[in-house]
Amino acid sequence: MSHEHGVQTRLTRNGVHMAFVALFAALGGSVRGFNLLVILAGLIIGILLMQWRFSRVLLPGLSARRMLPREAFAKTPFKVRFAVANGRWWLPAWLIRIEDKILAIDSALPPAQAGCSLSMIRPSSSEATQYDCTFSRRGHYQFGPLRLTTGFPFGLTRAAKNAAAVAPLTVFPRLATLRPQWIGVIENRRDGLSASRHSSGPSEGDFYGIRRWQTGDSRRWIHWRTTARIGNLAVRQFEHLNRTELSLLVDPYSLDDADSNAVEWAISVAAAMVQHLAVQNHPHLVLGIADAAKTVVASNRVPSFRTAALHALAGVRCLEQPPLDTTLAAMFASINPHQPIVVVSPRPARMDLLRSGQGPGGARFSPLLFDKLDILWLDVTSPSSERIAYRREEMHGQA
């Protein structure tokens, strides 16, 4: 972060008015001999001079630091904080405006202005301030440059100084709210579920309790003794019972802007899934995004799968013909072919789009190989997707 110490000063509108009045009074008074006008001119000029010097003197001793959050999500407010320090040991700083600029790197939209203010910073101390910021869209943004300005005390001039360079921020997609049992819904929707589930150790976890049987529970978990005693199905509860391993393939299909909400929703659902799955210990997760770059993020290849995946989702660009097949093929290097692959898409299932990809070794997917893959197509726009995630209307209602 670099600091520039140059201070620019300019007359404000009010200052221009007063300067004209002072000029008129000085000329009229000295030419026509109206001494009162000369006095008034002297007072106004004195005020202008002191205003100019004072506003210039305030700023050089100030330094500012912008603190952006580590993560930001679209449509979720967060605070942009500033710490402004006054290095002078004798002069406070008053009425400091902090002007920030926000630029959308991904688009050609004009930059937005943001800012906040401070009333007073005592000598040799610092003050903090902030403004709330809410991005409507995911993407890559740039904050800055930062400007400190002040017009103290009378607002006749305004001094400005650049205080901090630019800082980037990636805004992650808005997280959809997933239903509590969404994983079970996914797992139970396919045949052969149990075959794709991976047991990583001698047990499925530590048994710690009994509960009633729920839809989606495996028959293996049934505790027969308790069931016989109570007359209802009871299952064992395990810690780390489920260590689900999924692969996600995001289909950023969009014909035009009318479909952008749907694809954004799909991205939000995918992001929520990533978020949910990533908090589990050592899950093996793979995310593929069928964009132009055919992005693949695998948990065993990045230090933080969650962050990398969210970063990737933040930069997704919609396409009319997303390369689903080639992206799936690229994922093959990282996925476990036995783990389910969930295609998160804003359109109805188009399995045919996946078949034309090439399998390992460059060979095309054979129908037999393709049939062995556990692919689930999740159309986020269909009513049945409500079993996975709360639709926005319900979310608003619950909120």
Partner: protein, 799 residues
């Protein structure tokens, strides 16, 4: 935020009101200022406070347009001196329209600019001290309003903004700023006012100006001081006593430089009136203007008396006069006078001992006029009643022709033109006057031929023995067929100074003694603060001047420090009570105001190029600045001498001897020195502190968790506690708490909370805090910041 806004609205309303009062202090009447006052407070209540209504923008612009059209038409129709009235009208009415709008930053700025323009107009209209007094609250309110406007503008800056991709809000910061803004105006004003005053001072006294003063008619108020160079005698009813100021007159002893105090009232000559006529029963005195010698000459030079004449027989007095704007060209002087300073704008009339402004100038004197002369007329505080007719070097050969001197130069010839003007008398028209004179002469017996004794007898008769009464109530029923002077001496036997003087002149003329009226002022009102004499309209007076040959003037009236030859003009004052030395004295408050007004006039209103030059470079080769310093030192010494003697301001500012000024001053100075030593500390002088610490880069290894990094920044800035490489947050927090406790800082709680939340975010499953947890983090940061700032402030005060 509401409180700040309300405060701001009130200040601008008050500014408008004071602007209206400033206009009222001039000559614009009370309608416009009344509109301004009513508009200011009405708008504050109806629009700002109660929010009952406000003018929509389009209606306001329409209103302003109509006002502009109306005022421009008035401007084009009015004469020059009233055009400024149209401008004032425009300013006030447009401002009222603005006040009834919903206030935004722009509206406030416009109201401020219009108030400033009203101040300019008031400065042109009005030059009284009241303007200067009102300028103080106007300036204070105006500056406070500007500071509050700046605070409000900053608080509302980026309050909420929205673009196509982002929405930001600085509401929280704005609220905090609004809460803290109430003390801002005092900082701005207290810090900058002394510097602004100094700049204004140097600007005002350093700005180049024209050498002289204005000669044209000014745009200021009308001339309120009048002096008539004719006199009418009639029963006009009750005369009003007018206390309007005519002039201030500073007498100083040239030998000592000290103010000169008189023991009897001073007679100031304004005009001499020789010709008396009656028309329709009304008497009228006029001056007979004749050109004797030069039509208007320089003041006569100072007379150099014989070395044998002891200097204690006369006083060398210099007279400085500040004459208020007057309706005539007359100037007022103490005769005999002489020149001490060349002034081309003052003429001396030979044979009349009158001063005036040259006729080539404007017939009226619209501006204050300053002039100076010297006089030897005083001796021991008493003004001589006798003046040699011809001043030094005025007895040319022409005098024999024009003034009718005999060849010896001592006596006058009665048949000369000049003397004849002073002998005009009609026995047929003034039989009672003649009878009166004859009766007085008869009583004198042989002494009746002594002109001086006869004149003294007439004076005595009218002032004391004759049973005449002084009054300003001229309400008698008159017989228009009778001369008013005759009625005065025979019927009413009461009147004012003009009647008494006129009667005496006529009585003397009836006996062949040349006499004339002198009108002017007579005063002994002294302002101790300003060390000058005050002359008011109520001091106007008329007396008698008798032309006598030197042998007729008794030894008691021997002239000192005047030419030794030529006829003598002797002053007589037959008005009853004129021998009283005490006139009506104004109160202490009036003198204080007069002194302030005098300073205002001298150092502000009437500053011109000539005074600037005199102040900087002096006159006559003397270094002005050096003389100024010497004068300043002398005045300070005089000040303390008078202070100790309880004679400050001539006794007007004397207080009771309850404490010693010297001790008090010494105590205050000692306290200031001690306080300064305590604050600064001796060691500080050897430390060569830097005035500005360079703004440092924040280059420490930063945490990705924002609030924790903020906590680290605060601890480093205030306590110089920095996280070591490899040190865990918990270790860092514990170390910081220990070091803070060593400095008696109780910041363990917020540090521990923030550290706990750090671990929560850093190592938890979801890596996110709930809304309530975020609020707790905020509160911890605020608490920590407040305590550290407080500790820093306390530390800097101790240092």
């Amino acid at each position: 935020m509401d409180k700040l806004e309300r405060n701001l609205q009130f200040h601008f309303a008050a500014l408008t009101a004071v602007g209206g009062l400033l206009l009222a202090s001039g000559d614009v009447g009370w309608l416009l200022p009344g509109i301004a006052l009513l508009g200011a407070f009405g708008s504050f209540l109806l629009v700002d406070r109660w929010r009952l209504f406000s003018l929509p923008g389009w209606l306001a612009y329409l209103g302003m347009g109509l006002v502009a059209v109306y005022c421009v038409m008035q401007f084009l129709v009015f004469r020059t001196e009233n055009q400024l009235m149209a401008v004032a009208q425009l300013l006030v009415l447009v401002q009222v329209v603005l006040l009834f709008q919903r206030k935004t930053v722009r509206v406030f700025e416009q109201i401020g600019v219009f108030s400033l323009l009203e101040l300019i107009v008031a400065a042109i209209f009005n030059s009284a001290l009241v303007f200067g007094v009102l300028l103080i609250p106007f300036s204070l309110i105006g500056l406070r309003a500007l500071v509050l406007l700046q605070a409000w503008s900053t608080a509302t800056f980026a309050l909420k903004s929205e673009s196509s991709f982002v929405r930001t809000s600085g509401v929280q910061a704005s609220e905090q700023l609004a809460i803290r803004s109430s003390k801002l105006p005092r900082y701005g004003i207290a810090v900058l006012t002394p510097a602004v005053m100094v700049i204004a001072f140097f600007f005002f006294y350093g700005l180049p100006r024209a050498s002289g003063g204005l000669e044209g008619p000014g745009l200021g108020g009308n001339i309120t001081t009048g002096f008539s160079e004719t006199m009418t005698l009639d029963q006009v009813g009750s005369l009003l006593i007018n206390q309007e100021l005519v002039m201030r007159m500073r007498l100083s002893d040239r030998r000592t430089g000290q103010p000169y105090r008189v023991r009897q009232p001073i007679y100031l000559r304004g005009q001499v009136l020789e010709n008396y006529t009656v028309r329709r029963g009304v008497g009228r005195w006029e001056s007979v203007w004749q050109s004797f010698g030069d039509p208007g000459s320089m003041l006569p030079p100072a007379f150099n008396p014989s070395p044998l004449v002891s200097r204690i027989l006369y006083d060398d007095v210099e007279v400085d006069v500040e004459l208020q704007p007057l309706t005539s060209n007359a100037l007022f002087a103490i005769a005999p006078y002489h020149q001490t300073q060349r002034n081309d704008q003052v003429e001396h009339l030979i044979g009349r001992w009158l001063l005036r402004r040259p006729p080539s100038l404007s017939p009226v004197a619209p501006n204050r006029f300053y002039y100076r002369y010297g006089t030897y007329a005083f001796s021991g505080g008493v003004q001589t009643p006798s003046v040699r007719l011809a001043g030094p070097k005025e007895q040319t050969s022409l005098w024999q022709v024009d003034f009718g001197f005999l060849a010896d130069g001592q006596s006058y010839r009665t048949e000369s033109r000049f003397v004849q003007t002073m002998l005009g008398f009609s026995r047929e028209r003034l039989p009672e006057i003649a009878k009166l004179a004859d009766s007085i002469a008869e009583k004198l017996g042989e002494e009746q031929h002594d002109a001086y004794r006869f004149a003294r007898a007439v004076e005595q008769y009218l002032a004391v023995e004759g049973g005449f009464q002084y009054t300003t109530e001229l309400t008698e029923q008159r017989d228009r067929s009778v001369d008013p002077l005759d009625e005065f001496v025979s019927s009413y036997r009461r009147g004012h100074c003009q009647y008494f003087a006129s009667a005496m002149v006529m009585a003397l003329r009836s006996r062949g003694i040349p006499a004339r009226l002198v009108v002017g002022y007579r005063t002994d009102e002294y302002n101790g603060l300003g060390e000058h004499y005050i002359v008011r309209q109520s001091h106007a007076h008329a007396w008698v001047e008798v032309l006598l040959n030197p042998q007729a003037v008794p030894s008691a009236a021997t002239l000192v420090a005047q030419p030794s030859t030529g006829p003598i003009l002797v002053r007589f004052d037959p008005t009853p009570g004129s021998s009283n030395t005490q006139q009506t004295q104004a109160g202490r408050g009036s003198h204080l105001y007069d002194f302030a007004q005098s300073l205002w006039n001298n150092y502000v209103l009437d500053m011109n190029g000539q005074r600037q030059t005199e102040g900087l470079f002096g006159e006559g080769g003397e270094t002005g600045i050096r003389a100024s310093y010497q004068r300043m030192i002398r005045e300070i010494q005089d000040f303390f001498r008078e202070l100790n003697a309880n004679q400050l301001g001539g006794g007007e500012l004397s207080g009771r001897e309850l404490f010693s000024w010297r001790a008090a001053l010494l105590g205050v100075v000692a306290m200031i020195v001690l306080f300064g030593v305590y604050q600064l500390g001796l060691l500080r002088w050897f430390r060569f502190p830097k005035w500005i610490k360079p703004a440092r880069e924040y280059q420490s290894e930063s945490s990705q968790i924002v609030f924790f990094q903020h906590m680290c920044d605060l601890l480093r800035l205030h306590l110089r506690i920095q996280r070591a490489p490899g040190q865990t947050p918990q270790e860092f927090a514990e170390g910081a708490v220990v070091r803070a406790n060593a400095r008696n800082l109780n910041i363990a709680s917020p540090i521990e909370e923030l550290t706990r939340y750090f671990y929560r975010v850093r190592y938890s499953k979801d890596c996110q805090l709930s809304t309530s947890e975020n609020d707790l983090v905020e509160q911890s940061l605020v608490r920590l910041n407040a305590q550290l700032n407080h500790a820093s402030a306390a530390t800097s005060k101790r240092v």
